[in-house]
C-alpha cells in the first residue's frame, strides 16, 4: 500500500503561508526535543516509531482528522511505516519524503530586492537549520555568499535565471554548517574569497578578502563593499551590496547577535563584537536592509518567508544592540551561552580543508538547529 508523501518544499510553503498542520514526529524523544520542524500554526505529537510497532491504536484518538497530518522521522522510512499503519486504520496522513535529512537540506530561494540596472538579490532560506545564503545577480553574472554544502541548488538556480557564478564569498569560517563555498567555486571556476584572519589554517588557495575590497558583479558593476566586522570570529566580514543591503554574516541577526565563543576565544573577541555592532554598524546608513547569516526562530520570517529588516529598526528593537553598559554586554555574550552547535569543531576543520567526510557523515554532523546567536 502506498501512502501520500509531502516534500520538504511543500512543508516550507506551509511554514511561509502560516498554514496549519499536525506533525506526528516518530523519532526518539531526545532527537525531537533537540530539533524539530517549526511553523507558527503547527501542532506536534512525538511518539517514537519503536513504540508503535505493535499498532497505532493508542494514538488514533490523538491524531486529528480535520487538518493535514504529516508523519516525520529521521530519514523518511519509519515515517512511511507509521503512515501506512495509520492509513490502514482509516486516517488520511502523509509522510515527509527524506525525513529530517531532507528538511535540513532544503533551501528555498526568495527574492529580497532589486539592484541597480536590473540586478537582483536572492536569499536562500535553509528553513530546517536557519542558515541563510545569498545570490547577487547582475547582467548575467552572480556572486554567492555563505553557500551551504548543497551546491547543486545554487548551480541549478543560476542556470535557470541565466547567470554565471563568478565570485563566491564566505563572510567567515563557519562552525555550524559545512560551507559549500570552495566546492561551488571549483565547479564554476569562480573566485573564492575568505577573510584571511579566519583562514590562517586552511589547506587550499583562496582570494584574500580585506576591509574595503570592492568587487563588481556584472557589467553594470553592482558593488560589493567588504566591511571588516570581527566578533563572531576574528575575520568576520560584512558586505554592503549596491549601497542598499548589509549582509551581516553571523555578527547581527534580526532578534539576536552573534556569539563570540565558537572558536574558543569569547573573552578575547567580545570587545571586537561590541566595536563592530556599536561603532562600525552605527556609522552606516540606517536605511540599509540587514540580511543576516541566520534566523533563530520562525517568528523572524517576513510574510514572504524572507529574513530582513532595516538597520535603523534593529537599532531600536534588537536587544543585543541596546545594552549601554559594557560589562552587561560582556556578560550577555560570554555567560549562559546556548549549547554549542553539534560537531562544531569538526565542522570548522572540514571548512578549513583539514579533514574530509562522506556525505552521510556530513549530514549527521549538521544535525540540529542553529546555535550561532545570543539573545
Amino acid at each position: 500500500m502506498t501512502v501520500n508523501t509531502m516534500t520538504a518544499k511543500e512543508v516550507t510553503e506551509k511554514v511561509f503561508n502560516k498554514e496549519e498542520i499536525f506533525i506526528l514526529d516518530v523519532r526518539n524523544s531526545s532527537d525531537f526535543t533537540d530539533w524539530k520542524i517549526e511553523g507558527e500554526n503547527f501542532d506536534f505529537l512525538n511518539v517514537p516509531y519503536f513504540d508503535l510497532l505493535d499498532g497505532v491504536e493508542r494514538i488514533l484518538d490523538k491524531v486529528p482528522t480535520d487538518k493535514d497530518v504529516l508523519v516525520v522521522c529521521a530519514k523518511g522510512r519509519s515515517s512511511i511505516m507509521v503512515a501506512e499503519m495509520l492509513s490502514e486504520a482509516g486516517l488520511s496522513v502523509s509522510s515527509l519524503e527524506g525525513g529530517m535529512n531532507a528538511w535540513s537540506e532544503h533551501l528555498e530561494p526568495v527574492k529580497v530586492g532589486d539592484l541597480k540596472g536590473g540586478g537582483e538579490i536572492y536569499q536562500f532560506v535553509r528553513i530546517g537549520k536557519g542558515c541563510l545564503s545569498y545570490m547577487v545577480v547582475s547582467n548575467g553574472e552572480a556572486a554567492v555568499i555563505d553557500a551551504t554544502r548543497m551546491t547543486n541548488i545554487y548551480l541549478e538556480f543560476a542556470n535557470r535565471i541565466g547567470a554565471k557564478i563568478t565570485h563566491v564569498f564566505d563572510t567567515h569560517l563557519h562552525a555550524d554548517h559545512i560551507s559549500g563555498g570552495r566546492k561551488l567555486a571549483e565547479k564554476t571556476n569562480a573566485t573564492y574569497w575568505l577573510p584571511p584572519k579566519d583562514a590562517t589554517e586552511v589547506t587550499f588557495d583562496y582570494q584574500s578578502l580585506e576591509d574595503g575590497n570592492e568587487v563588481a558583479i556584472g557589467t553594470t558593476s553592482i558593488n560589493m563593499h567588504a566591511l571588516y566586522s570581527p566578533g563572531h570570529t576574528i575575520g568576520s566580514t560584512s558586505f554592503i551590496v549596491d549601497e542598499k543591503f548589509l549582509l551581516t554574516g553571523d555578527i547581527l541577526f534580526i532578534d539576536s547577535i552573534g556569539r563570540p565563543d565558537l572558536a574558543g576565544l569569547a573573552e578575547d573577541w567580545v570587545g571586537d563584537l561590541r566595536e563592530s555592532l556599536y561603532t562600525r554598524y552605527k556609522e552606516l546608513s540606517g536605511e540599509l536592509i540587514v540580511l543576516p547569516g541566520h534566523f533563530t526562530i520562525i517568528d523572524e520570517l517576513n510574510a514572504d518567508g524572507s529574513v530582513s529588516e532595516k538597520l535603523s529598526t534593529l537599532f531600536e528593537t534588537n536587544h543585543g544592540l541596546n545594552i549601554e553598559d559594557e560589562n552587561a554586554f560582556r556578560k550577555l555574550v560570554t555567560e549562559n551561552l546556548p549549547s554549542q552547535p553539534n560537531a562544531y569543531q569538526e565542522i570548522r576543520e572540514i571548512n578549513m580543508g583539514k579533514i574530509e567526510q562522506e556525505i552521510e557523515k556530513q549530514r549527521e554532523m549538521e544535525i540540529g538547529p542553529n546555535r550561532c546567536a545570543v539573545r
Binding site: S29, P48, Y49, F50, D51, L53, R77, M81
Partner: protein
C-alpha cells in the same frame, strides 16, 4: 556473559534494525541476552530509548570498524 542469540542487522536501515531486534527479543526468555550487530548510525539512540521503554537492559555497546555492537538483557 552468556549470549543466547545473535542478530545481524548490518546494512539494514531504520526502522528494520529495531523491528528485527523486537522480534528477536520476543523469542527470548526474560534475563536472556541478545547480541546485535548494526551499521545504521541512528540505531544507537533509538535502541537505547526502545530498551528503556520496554524494560530491557542495555548491558554494553562497542563500535568496531563501523559496526555497532550491542548486548541487551531481556526484561
Amino acid at each position: 556473559m552468556t549470549i543466547n542469540k545473535v542478530l545481524d542487522a548490518k546494512g539494514l536501515a531504520c526502522p528494520m534494525p529495531i523491528v528485527k531486534t523486537k522480534k528477536a527479543i520476543n523469542e527470548l526468555e526474560s534475563e536472556q541476552v541478545l547480541e546485535i550487530h548494526a551499521t545504521d548510525k541512528g540505531f544507537k539512540s533509538d535502541l537505547t530509548a526502545w530498551a528503556k521503554s520496554g524494560g530491557h537492559e542495555l548491558l554494553k555497546h562497542e563500535e568496531e570498524n563501523d559496526v555497532l555492537k550491542f548486548w541487551i538483557k531481556k526484561g
